[in-house]
């Protein structure tokens, strides 16, 4: 708890943590929006979300190591690769669980998550990896607050992707079909929407979003094969706090979570950062449930 006092005495540290957190939180929001999309359209909670993020990160890392490709150029490739993986997984597994008991989809995607986790462990090794983007760092307030350009750039990329996504969902034919299916799959089917194709596209799009988020994570942070579940949990927390289909809310919550995590990591010690994420999930769910109970409702 000494660090808490330190935060009070040196507010620039707090500012630094918040800035760091906000910049990282944008990436959380991207993965969370993908989860909200799949949840809203297909009524599936994709537990393998985090593994897609990490896999995207590893693809960027691999391209950087092998061909010296900058992670920002690796980003579209990772997105495309994950899009194809999402399509494949939809065709093999996911299309069989759409519309079934939610527990089945939870467990099946959990199985995919374990599978991918171990596959990455075998392919890339269990070490913590990162890509040095080789970009300058900006200093503020007499060098007390540093802002790496890489993080700033990642933030901008997230904004660009989010803008593209919103425009795509609003104006493109497929986006309209996705929204129609989310509202009422049966009615959409009656009106000639091929919902199976919509589901496949939604799932693959989500995987691509995660893959792109992963490319950013490897550039501004670190990845290793077993960290995926924290991203799933973060996405889930952001979605339940912000609500489904609320992009500004998802974005704001993602930023808030990022800042909160940085501060908690500093106060409690870095070894408790994962513990904090998972405990926060339990606390948020309990608080939300208690809040609903006052209106004699429950989380479902």
């Amino acid at each position: 708890m000494d660090n808490l006092l330190l935060l009070y005495q040196a507010p620039t540290i707090l500012l630094q943590l918040v800035v760091d957190g906000l910049l990282v939180g944008a990436v959380f929001a991207l993965a969370a929006y993908g989860m909200a999309l799949v949840w809203g359209v297909m009524n599936i909670i994709n537990v393998s979300q985090g593994e897609y993020v990490i896999l995207g990160g590893y693809i960027s890392y691999f391209l950087f190591r092998q061909f010296g490709l900058h992670p920002l150029l690796g980003l579209p490739i990772a997105g495309l690769a994950l899009f194809l993986l999402g399509l494949l997984l939809y065709r093999v597994v996911i299309h069989r669980i759409v519309g079934r008991d939610m527990f089945i989809s939870l467990l099946a995607t959990f199985g995919i998550s374990i599978l991918l986790q171990q596959l990455m462990n075998e392919l890339f090794g269990p070490d913590v990896v990162s890509v040095d983007a080789g970009m300058p760092t900006w200093y503020f307030l007499g060098n007390a607050v540093t802002v790496p350009t890489a993080k700033l750039l990642a933030f901008g990329v997230v904004l660009a992707i989010a803008a593209l996504l919103v425009a795509g969902l609003r104006y493109s034919r497929l986006g309209q079909a996705i929204r129609a299916t989310a509202q009422n799959a049966r009615a959409a089917r009656v009106l000639g929407v091929d919902t199976d194709r919509v589901y496949a596209a939604t799932y693959a799009l989500n995987a691509a979003l995660c893959g792109m988020a992963g490319s950013l994570v490897v550039m501004i942070w670190v990845i290793h094969p077993f960290i995926g579940l924290t991203y799933t949990v973060r996405s889930f927390m952001i979605v339940i706090v912000a609500g489904l289909g609320n992009l500004p809310g998802v974005f704001a919550t993602g930023l808030g979570l990022g800042a909160l995590e940085q501060i908690a990591g500093f106060v409690l010690g870095a070894e408790f950062q994962s513990a904090f994420v998972f405990s926060l999930l339990v606390v948020i769910l309990i608080v939300r449930n208690a809040w609903l109970r006052r209106r004699r409702e429950y989380l479902s």
Binding site: N43, I45, V93, R96, I97, R100, D101, M102, F103, I104, L106, L107, A108, F110, G111, I112, S113, I114, L115, L116, Q117, Q118, L119, E122, L229, V233, F236, I240, G269, E271, F272, S274, A275, F278, S279, L281, V282, L285, I286, N289, A290, R293, Y298, L299, S300
Partner: protein, 344 residues
């Protein structure tokens, strides 16, 4: 349980007990493997109380397993040699060991049941996937927190006392422990499911709102069911801690990626929501795992992931469900748990 199924249960019990008694004679050198087989039965049965019978699919029941393991180990460590006497291997006399183990198991059960009531009153208010994900977070958070707590050895783990001379060997001792525990769990659950308690759980699974409207105290039943599950898991955890001899916070105690997933998988494989299904699933899965695991060195968890997907997607009703569908005259009666309606 239908009358016909009832008639099958006496031979099943006899076969189980005979097999359990014969195994030490046939395979005296592999008793640890068989002790774990009985342990799997306990895990699968305890998961099925909430997951199968009550329709509350917990992903984090391993939480109670780890709590029981740590509570038991801490009592065993600190009872005779003062508090937190370091990491050195403890040497105890036979009576000290037995008393320590007994009190440790009691402490584990008390801790787990208390936590089940405390957390259950909040967490069991959630439905469906919120409950599943909340318990998932609970199990992992506990492991992550245990990695940072020095009192229980933090990330470097904890050592349980050595088996003292004068007692039967560790393997046969814990084989007997887990066999008795598994049989006790099976007997306890067969009694509980046969009565009002089982009916209440099934009513909650089938339609909780209607059950509540009929005047059923659902919260009390739900927390009690979770507490029973927690007590069995704490006993199993205390035993496993001593059998393995070393408690790692994430790989042994809060082992969500192995025991935690296996218990769900075993219950589903055998047929969730039935008494004998989890037992069948546990033996089958554990046998398959023991035979094949060594051939997939490093790839076991890839296999595990694939296995989860295959079983869950193609075989969600499990063996008992399949038997019911195939031989309704013999195994029929109550419909399988698939009557559970989609609560989304």
């Amino acid at each position: 349980m239908s009358a016909r199924l009832q008639r099958l249960s006496a031979p099943a019990w006899t076969g189980l007990i005979v097999a359990g008694l014969v195994v030490p004679w046939l395979f005296p050198h592999h008793l640890t493997v068989f002790a774990f087989a009985w342990c799997m039965v306990v895990l699968a049965l305890s998961w099925d109380i909430c997951g199968g019978q009550m329709g509350y699919n917990s992903f984090g029941n391993i939480f109670f397993f780890g709590i029981g393991m740590y509570a038991c180990a801490v009592v065993q460590r600190d009872l005779w040699h003062g508090v937190a006497s370091g990491q050195a291997q403890l040497v105890l006399t036979a009576p000290q060991y037995l008393i320590g183990l007994g009190l440790g198991l009691v402490a584990g059960v008390v801790a787990a049941v208390a936590l089940a009531f405390l957390l259950g009153s909040q967490i069991l208010g959630m439905r469906g996937h919120y409950f599943a994900i909340c318990t998932l977070g609970l199990g992992i958070a506990a492991g992550e927190i245990a990695t940072g707590v020095d009192f229980i050895g933090a990330g470097s783990g904890m050592v349980t006392p050595l088996m003292p001379a004068g007692l039967p060997g560790k393997e046969i001792f814990y084989y007997a422990f887990f066999m008795l525990l598994a049989l006790f769990a099976l007997w306890l659950l067969s009694r509980l499911y046969a009565g009002r308690f089982g009916l209440a759980l099934n009513a909650i699974r089938d339609n909780e709102d209607k059950a509540e409207a009929m005047g059923l105290p659902t919260v009390a039943y739900k927390t009690t069911a979770w507490a029973v599950s927690a007590a069995l898991l704490a006993l199993a955890g205390g035993g496993v801690g001593n059998l393995v001899g070393f408690i790692d916070p994430i790989d042994v105690a809060f082992a969500g990626a192995s025991f935690g997933v296996w218990m769900i998988l075993m219950a589903i494989l055998g047929g969730k929501g039935t008494l004998w299904g989890p037992l069948i699933g546990a033996f089958l899965f554990y046998a398959a795992k023991e035979v094949t695991w060594t051939y997939f060195l490093g790839w076991q968890r890839v296999m595990l992931g694939a296995l989860i997907v295959i079983i869950v997607v193609f075989f969600p009703e499990g063996i008992m469900g399949w038997l019911r569908e195939r031989f309704p005259a013999r195994f029929g009666g109550a419909p399988a748990s698939e009557t559970q309606e989609d609560r989304s």
